[in-house]
């Protein structure tokens, strides 16, 4: 690392790569989250959370309802504050990263705005960032191509199926090339067939864009199929009970029948059961 340049000076050209390897995409250290502290409805949502995610990883947070997985995602997004500990995104405090638009979110509900057509929904974050109309339109067209919905640009969100709406939401999230994609049960409301199709699409987009993904789900098979690492959480108070490496390399439909895939499913299931025993 040390190459004679002053630490606060301009970045040396060949130092770039080193730096990326050192700065984690997300660093969660000693985080506790208590809702309504000191009141009768106090909830200890998360305790002692330590998690480090490198750039380019696909990490899934899995656990039963009430284990705090969505809360952890919201802490990383700086949509809610930590009670203790720290959250760093791309080496900055989480709230700074939010204002710098270092990440993008996708929710269970596509959350498209009825008063904008599909193309203009995708342009929304670009408008907030002050892009001019021509650039916005061009990027929106590229994004629609990425999610294979080009012919629906002028359509109304209500005219699209649930799966198509969620693809538009992903296109919107990816429109400004965020370094980090935070997904909160994005396929939870879709039927099984659409869901598997969307998982394949998401992996394709992840391969093409090299974005870091943090993905919240209840589904063991979804977690194993998608991730390079599965973070298993348990409730009351929410904590990380196991971290399982599940990298299956290049994935395809055949992966779903692969013995290694089933071995990973069993490993995650056992980790989830372990909590109930304890």
């Amino acid at each position: 690392m040390s190459n004679g340049f002053p630490t606060n000076g301009p970045e040396p050209p060949d130092g770039d790569r080193d730096c990326e390897a050192v700065v984690a995409a997300v660093e969660v250290a000693g985080v506790d989250k208590v809702f309504n502290p000191g009141r009768s409805n106090e909830v200890h949502a998360l305790t002692g959370i330590d998690l480090r995610i490198a750039a380019g990883e696909f990490v899934t947070l899995i656990g039963p309802s009430g284990c705090g997985k969505s809360t952890l995602l919201r802490l990383i997004a700086a949509l809610t504050d930590v009670s203790e500990g720290s959250v760093t995104v791309n080496g900055k405090p989480a709230d700074r990263a939010r204002l710098d638009r270092d990440y993008s979110m996708v929710f269970q509900r596509a959350g498209l705005f009825d008063w904008r057509n599909v193309s203009r929904n995708i342009e929304l974050p670009l408008e907030l960032m002050g892009w001019n109309a021509a650039d916005r339109r061009q990027r929106s067209a590229e994004m629609l191509e990425l999610v294979k919905l080009s012919e629906f640009a002028r359509h109304h969100p209500a005219e699209l199926s649930g799966g198509m709406q969620q693809r538009v939401a992903i296109a919107r999230a990816m429109s400004f090339d965020p370094k980090l994609l935070l997904m909160d049960e994005p396929f939870g409301a879709l039927d099984e067939m659409t869901r598997e199709h969307m998982q394949n699409e998401l992996l394709r987009i992840w391969n093409e864009t090299q974005t870091t993904v943090i993905f919240v789900t209840h589904s063991i098979s979804e977690a194993v199929f998608l991730s390079t690492r599965v973070v298993v959480m348990s409730p009351r108070p929410g904590r990380i009970s196991a971290v399982i490496d599940t990298d299956l390399g290049e994935r395809s439909e055949a992966t779903r029948d692969h013995p290694e895939y089933f071995a990973n499913v069993t490993a995650v299931r056992n980790a989830l059961r372990g909590d109930h025993a304890s």
């Binding site: 949509l79 269970q108 959350g111 009825d114 008063w115 969100p157």
Partner: protein, 260 residues
């Protein structure tokens, strides 16, 4: 072809129903109450309207001005107040209970008091009644629309680093539009009622409300009914304008409803 059919399907039933209603009214009175003293038949009301056309059109102009200006002022103030209480929590906590309490006051009953404030012959007191009466449905409905939003849509905007006023403009105001227009349509008929009833107690002597009270006092019920008819036409006209505005301002809303 199909568009013409759709228009016909939408308009024909109410037009036929109205024709039957007025026909029965006319026929029953011809048999049961041939002098038409207490309740004149529709034909007598229409001929009274044209017989006294100058006085009634002048009165409609005067009352219509009060209705339209009062309606606009009440709607603007109601909508701005809704944005204010949505943007500032402290304003919400102080103003909303106050507004609900004031809404429980029978505002029409204030008309004689407003006359004392603004002068018995001044149209200002009538306008004030219209403004106050229109304010509440607009304020309450619009506030609901500004607040009734999928939480993840707000989180989405916050994740893009959007501030309070940007969220107001991009999400809350468009979301409140259907609620606002529901209130606006309600407010058009409220404004007509408020202006005419307020005129019973004061205001200009050549306005619709005064023609109704004076004609009824002189047992000239056909003139009173003609003035009521003129007021109804103003109300229907304003309602139609509100419907057209709604279509123009939020075509997306009707497109979404068609798709669902």
């Amino acid at each position: 072809m199909t568009a013409a059919k759709a228009v016909l399907r939408a308009w024909l039933p109410p037009v036929v129903a109205a024709a039957i209603m007025f026909g029965c009214w006319e026929a029953l009175l011809a048999v049961l109450n041939p002098d038409g003293f207490v309740l004149p038949p529709p034909s007598t009301i229409v001929s009274a309207l044209f017989g006294d056309f100058d006085a009634i059109s002048t009165a409609t102009g005067i009352t219509g001005f009060i209705i339209v200006t009062g309606l606009i002022a009440g709607v603007v103030v109601g909508a701005l107040a809704a944005v204010l209480v949505t943007a500032f929590r402290s304003a919400h906590e102080t103003l909303t209970p106050l507004a609900v309490a004031v809404n429980a006051v029978p505002i029409i009953a204030l008309a004689p008091i407003f006359n004392a404030w603004f002068g018995i012959l001044s149209p200002r007191s009538n306008q004030a009644v219209v403004v106050v009466l229109v304010f509440f449905p607009v304020f309450i409905n619009t506030t609901r629309g500004l607040g009734h939003i999928e939480p993840s849509q707000i989180e989405l905007m916050e994740s893009y680093g959007a501030g309070k006023w940007r969220i107001m403009r991009e999400v809350r105001i468009p979301n409140a539009m259907p609620y606002f227009f529901t209130a606006l349509k309600l407010a058009t008929s409220l404004a007509v009622i408020a202006a005419i009833v307020a005129e019973y107690f004061g205001g200009r002597q050549d306005a619709l409300g005064n023609i109704i009270t004076n004609s009824a006092g002189l047992t000239r019920y056909d003139d009173a009914w003609a003035a009521v008819l003129a007021g109804s036409l103003v109300g229907i006209g304003l309602y139609a304008i509100a419907v057209v505005l709604e279509r123009l301002v939020m075509p997306w809303y009707f497109a979404a409803r068609r798709a669902q």
